[in-house]
Assembly symmetry: C2
Homo-oligomer: 438 residues x 2
């Protein structure tokens, strides 16, 4: 409780972009309440950033400026180092290592850093007896790290999945609502600031993959293995797919999924069909959501804002408040030295239902050619639908055949589609979207 | 971290019903993982329950039996006392007091106890320098207590609301899906074990009110004031209301809502219209969900199972794991002595939109009579709909007039409806359901 905790917690922040300034605003707006909640004051003691001159809308009076983040990380002026520099190497990595090596706890929002170096950094933190907190690194304001690390301690987790990239969810939501194509909505999203000038990390699924690799370690007690994540982006999704999904009772979301199977752990990021009447299907626009399945808790879903100044700052400040109160556990829930090796379940062994869209010429025998090939691979079909392809009303140029399969393996599915394509049955590369139970 | 924490945490459990046995199963199933996560073993040392002979499906070998829970609570054999007896007075209260007074931390799932005595018990816990954890008391497996107490430390909360009673949500979901009336579904729910033989606490809204009063304290830093909660149950909801709600783009849910207003804090439990395309509208069957709005985090929703052996045990074990790791904060997030008085915002000052159903005779002038009275009270209408009442196709016996109002006050709304009823315009007491922005 409050006894003996009257010394303030002196905070050093490296990186004064949107999030860094958000953290300073929160510490100041809620300073009195935080002192009350933590039993000690949280004080901004030092900062470091690239440009000292930049106007940031927060006062840095009485705060020591450091030109070098590594110097701040090791300064005796601070009790905790907050890394908001970004990037998986360079100054972010070096300053975090410097802080941990000098026995200073670290708070970071850097998913790329943890996806690449998380296990090593956890070992370094635990060797030096200090905490490494990173609530803001996964799904912004959503407390999924604390939930997995603390609240679900008495559960064995079987699956964790979620919408963890606001840009992708915003684009998919607008494509669905407006019936427009990917490129149009992306361009508009860039204009409005909902997508970066170079959107590859977001729409390519890599940002989601960074976050997923961290959740996998927390959920399954394994070392972080980012390179094993199967990644597919949203750029091949058309408004025709979204429309077909809707008429079949689904929505399409970019999900990150980590699931235990008989052969290991699947980590995959890809556009996914989810049942329209599931809670995850009602996560719209820039919102994020993460679902965890545990043997005691059952299904648990957390939904909120996955990015932005306020939500990210909220998580950083919660990490700081935890440090102020004391009593940190191991970085990834278990001691880093006891994390299990990650055993990869190959994507070809993945089992599930599939949505397939084949653009084919409108001539007799096409359906027979498709269904025969499916049967050869042992794939049984739940539904078949034929529609005029996007932008066309007649059947002059061809039709879209849309299939929903019963459960099959990725290997058989890919095999069947390759043969159908090489047969010349489909005029374009088939569209294939995995269905997830939700 | 792990240093100096090799002593096991010895646990005493009073009350061996479903939840108590669930906790024992979780401690045993996940014993090794818990030791790894907490840096020390969690050991069941003592138990107490009414009947020693009862078969419970868990072995109690090597566990000391206590006939009196108070004795267990004060025993030197245990480091933490888990109260799962239930009830707001009697043995539950006495044993919790005994444990705290003898400086033993307490874990409880008892919402009624906390709703009645929470502030006093928090004072006692903090005076003795021990923790009082109660994650399982609100919304079962959902970690809403930890989220409010720790994750949202850097936020000022403006509103917290949720579906916190599985029985009510199950009944409303089935009424909507099957078009049947309250009494039929309740009877069936009782047969299936989804509702108690005496369902008053659930369907009357009192169970939700207990939970809400705890969330109010956590969210707003005020003392618990259960008696100030405005409570309305679901027994007056008809399938006609659910159908009308659906056609107007809403669903009806029993919500507990705590919200800051200019005059104080509203605490209210009542059937509520929520927009059909909000995430909370997609919470079906026995699932619970809680939404929190904070100035930095924005909107955050947690969804999961609100009752049952597994989910409740999951939360109790998470409280135990926190104790094992050490570092507890104040019981209600702030020191009990610093909790603010609760300033009640009266229900008559509540502002919002309303759904109204008036059963009226089908004759000229009725619409004019209704709309004139509404206008006299300054209430403007968003939509008016007329339909044949339940079970009738013709207009021989009368019609239902359904109104959706723009924002108005509870006081004006009640005034207008009282006058309309005393005018003789409505043949039955008007139905009034509050609309909540979600």
């Amino acid at each position: 409780m409050s006894s003996g905790k009257s010394e303030p917690l002196k905070i050093g922040i490296a990186g004064l972009g949107t999030v860094g300034c958000g953290v300073i605003k929160s510490l100041r707006t809620h300073g009195q309440a935080l002192t009350q909640k933590c039993g000690r004051e949280l004080v901004l003691a030092g900062v470091s950033a690239r440009s000292r001159a930049r106007e940031r809308g927060v006062s840095l009076d009485n705060v020591t400026w450091y030109d070098d983040a590594r110097q701040l990380a090791q300064s005796n002026e601070i009790d905790v180092f907050v890394e908001l520099i970004g990037g998986e190497e360079g100054m972010a990595l070096e300053s975090v290592k410097a802080a941990l090596s000098s026995s200073r706890p670290v708070v970071t929002a850097n998913k790329a850093l943890l996806a690449r170096h998380g296990t090593k950094l956890a070992e370094l933190a635990e060797k030096n007896g200090v905490a490494l907190n990173y609530e803001a690194a996964v799904a912004g304001g959503i407390p999924i790290v604390k939930t997995l690390r603390e609240s679900l301690a008495g559960n064995e987790i079987s699956r964790v999945y979620g919408i963890m990239n606001g840009t992708c969810n915003y684009i998919l939501t607008r494509m669905e609502n407006e019936g427009k194509d990917f490129a149009d909505i992306l361009a508009d999203a860039q204009k409005l600031g909902y997508a970066e000038a170079d959107p590859t990390a977001d729409i390519g699924g890599f940002d989601t993959a960074h976050k997923l690799s961290i959740l996998t370690s927390l959920a399954f007690g394994t070392v972080i293995d980012f390179d094993s994540v199967y990644v597919e982006g949203i750029d091949r999704i058309t408004s025709a797919d979204l429309e077909a999904a809707a008429s079949l009772g689904y929505r399409i979301k970019l999900l990150g999924v980590a699931v235990k199977t008989d052969t290991g752990i699947e980590q995959r990021v890809h556009p996914t069909m989810v049942p329209r009447h599931s809670a995850i299907a009602e996560i719209h626009d820039v919102f994020n959501a993460v679902v965890v399945e545990g043997d005691f808790v059952g299904e648990l879903m957390l939904m909120g804002r996955g990015a932005g100044e306020g939500p990210t700052a909220s998580s950083v400040v919660s990490d700081l408040a935890d440090l102020a109160r004391g009593g940190a556990g191991p970085v990834f829930g278990r001691p880093a030295a006891e994390l299990l090796p990650y055993r990869r379940a190959g994507m070809r062994a993945h089992e599930g239902g599939y949505y397939v869209r084949l653009d084919v010429p409108d001539r007799p025998g096409i359906m027979a050619a498709i269904t025969t090939r499916m049967a050869e691979y042992g794939i049984s079909l739940e539904s078949i639908m034929q529609r005029a392809p996007e932008g066309e009303q007649g059947g002059m140029h061809g039709v879209s055949v849309i299939l929903i399969t019963h459960e099959t393996t990725e290997s058989d599915m890919r095999g069947a589609l390759e043969v159908i394509f090489s047969d010349g049955t489909a005029s374009e590369k088939p569209q294939m979207i995995r269905i997830e139970r939700a």
